[in-house]
């Protein structure tokens, strides 16, 4: 069976994830905010093979969905539109795009938990959020001729089965998965924590996560736990 994945968001991150997924042998459906025509040329040149669609079509066609749109936009997708699906949340709070939002910067509840609360009939796993898009492309070992130790990508989710599936996807995409205890722990991967932007091997990433209290936001999180 060919593996299949749908990507919502066809910007910097969406395109890179499409490129990696294709190289990993996945069938890829992808959507921006508008019509498929708007992204057709980009896909043809940058990620040939990825199928441009409307987001409704991407959701209808796929059981596994990556969210790669601005965090402030996820509610533009209907709450039930992702029901029963495995959702990889790659979104981060980026105030320059999302505006000032206290709810996206709350040490009590991670942004992926907000996403999970909204898509309550889906399994949300935080993944592909902490590494910059060009690092993802430069580091994925599936593009490298010689075998190297892959860089690590952390992921966080509440459902064991879902986490296992995402571990496989992260591995397929050319990275070493590092699994956090639950979705709430995904807070330790958010902007403001020393893991944000991390392009590290497994052990170093684990150390960065363990040292999350080195940052102000990390201390706020720790105080609440």
């Amino acid at each position: 069976m060919t593996k299949q994945i749908g990507i919502i968001g066809a910007g910097k991150l969406g395109v890179v994830l499409a490129q990696i997924a294709l190289k990993a042998g996945y069938q890829v459906d992808i959507a921006g905010s508008g019509s498929p025509e708007k992204i057709a040329l980009t896909m043809m040149v940058l990620a040939p093979g990825a199928e441009p669609m409307t987001s409704a079509e991407v959701l209808a066609n796929n059981d596994v969905i990556i969210l790669a749109l601005p965090l402030s936009k996820f509610k533009q997708l209907g709450a039930s539109s992702l029901a029963g699906k495995l959702v990889l949340d790659a979104m981060n709070y980026w105030w320059e795009v999302d505006g000032k939002r206290d709810d996206f910067n709350d040490p009590q509840i991670g942004t992926s938990e907000l996403v999970q609360n909204y898509f309550k009939d889906s399994q949300v796993v935080k993944a592909f959020n902490h590494m910059g898009y060009h690092d993802l492309l430069d580091e994925s070992i599936i593009f490298k001729p010689q075998c190297e130790q892959p860089k690590a990508l952390a992921l966080a989710g509440d459902n064991k089965q879902a986490v296992l599936q995402v571990q496989q996807i992260v591995t397929d995409f050319g990275f070493t998965p590092l699994v956090l205890k639950n979705l709430h722990e995904g807070l330790k991967l958010q902007p403001g924590i020393n893991t944000f932007g991390a392009n590290l091997h497994l052990q170093a990433l684990q150390e960065a996560i363990d040292n999350y209290t080195d940052t102000t936001f990390g201390q706020q999180i720790a105080q609440l736990n």
Binding site: A10, G11, K12, V15, L41, T42, M44, V45, L46, N92, Y93, W94, W95, E96, V97, G99, G132, Y133, H134, D135, L137, D138, Q190, P191, G192, I193, N194, T195, F196, G197, A198, N199, L200, A208, F217
Partner: protein, 347 residues
């Protein structure tokens, strides 16, 4: 073969004196003027100044500084990198740059961009939610102003124009205009749609990853039937006598500046490993003249760009350190890159 152009770019970082104390904003601006004059004397093709509205950078009105450079220089192209069109008025931008074009005998160039910072939005009363529509509409209007004929235009982001003629006109009838592009494929297609040349801001990661963007630009112009222009790139760098010295200087200038900017966005500070990797394989052009020349030549060849700008002043370097980068770039790096490119062309 078309000649490759070499530029120097700065945002007007605040220089430090030998004791590490920062100079005033005013001194920082006068220093950039002096550097522009120096670059012209040394034969650098372009100086480009970026508009910012934050404490680390003194230049918020690049064309004012360029005007000062204009009257003291002969040949150097006077450009921006970028002019934040989204939070500006296209008519005024045109007027300011056609004025600069007059002062410099036709050496003005404007590089339009959305800006990688957003400080200008609240400052000028624009809403970040309109980020996309502001740029889309304003570049549309600007492209019509470039015809230097009366313009009729209507949109949501500024008052309509009815057969409006805008002055001063340029002598050549054409204001040199680029579009500055970060990593967004949409921006490449937009530049192609307006038939404007593209400058790629490559501030991290391997330059090779922009190769597909070059193809995207060509394909887009082909599909849209617009002219294909030579593409340029800009990246950060520091040049010193030895690799060692340049690296240490970059570690306390480029790295510190990047960390300061990254902190506002929640990025973890740069590790030494990452920094070294940017120098080895990524987008920091740091080292002795020979090291930097080889790296620039490699990037130019692999991407096929026709313009390379070095962002030379990041962080709080001393005036002497900045001037040394400029001198080594002009006197040693550029000639070496040219000869590497010429050798390869003869192969």
């Amino acid at each position: 073969m078309e000649k490759v152009l070499f530029g120097l770019d700065t945002f007007g970082d605040i220089p430090a004196n030998d004791n590490g104390e920062l100079l005033s904003d005013a001194q920082a601006i006068r220093q950039v003027v002096a550097e522009g004059v120096l670059a012209d004397q040394l034969g650098v093709d372009i100086i480009a100044l970026g508009e910012h509205h934050r404490e680390d950078f003194a230049i918020s009105s690049p064309e004012m500084v360029l005007a000062a450079i204009a009257t003291q220089t002969e040949k150097i192209k006077l450009s921006t990198g970028v002019t934040v069109l989204s939070s500006d008025d296209p008519v005024r931008v045109f007027q300011r740059f056609s004025t600069l074009d007059a002062l410099s005998n036709g050496r003005a160039q404007v590089m339009l961009g959305r800006g990688s910072f957003t400080e200008s939005f609240p400052l000028f009363g624009f809403d970040l939610n309109d980020y996309d529509v502001l740029f889309e509409e304003k570049i549309n209007l600007f492209s019509q102003l470039l015809t230097e004929k009366p313009v009729t235009w209507q949109g949501k982001t500024r008052a309509p124009l009815q057969n409006a003629d805008v002055y001063p006109k340029t002598e050549s009838g054409h204001l040199d205009t680029f579009v500055g592009v970060g990593g967004s494929p949409e921006s490449i297609i937009r530049a192609a749609r307006y038939g404007l040349p593209v400058m790629l801001a490559i501030i991290g990661g391997s330059p090779e990853r922009f190769k597909p963007y070059m193809r995207l630009y060509e394909k887009a112009t082909e599909q849209l039937g617009t002219p294909v222009h030579p593409v340029g790139m800009h990246s950060h760098g520091v040049i010193a006598a030895t690799d060692e010295e340049a690296r240490e200087l970059a570690w306390r200038s480029i790295r510190v500046s990047m960390d300061r900017i990254g902190r506002d966005r929640g990025w973890a500070p740069m590790t030494r490993e990452r920094f070294e990797n940017e120098i080895e394989n990524g987008s920091y052009y740091v080292g002795s003249p020979t090291t930097v020349a080889k790296k620039i030549a490699r990037a130019i060849k692999s991407l096929g760009v026709k313009r390379f700008d070095l962002v030379y002043s990041a962080g709080n370097q001393t005036i002497a350190e900045r001037q040394r980068t400029i001198e080594l770039y002009a006197n040693e790096v550029i000639p070496q890159v040219r000869s590497i490119l010429a050798e390869d062309a003869n192969d």
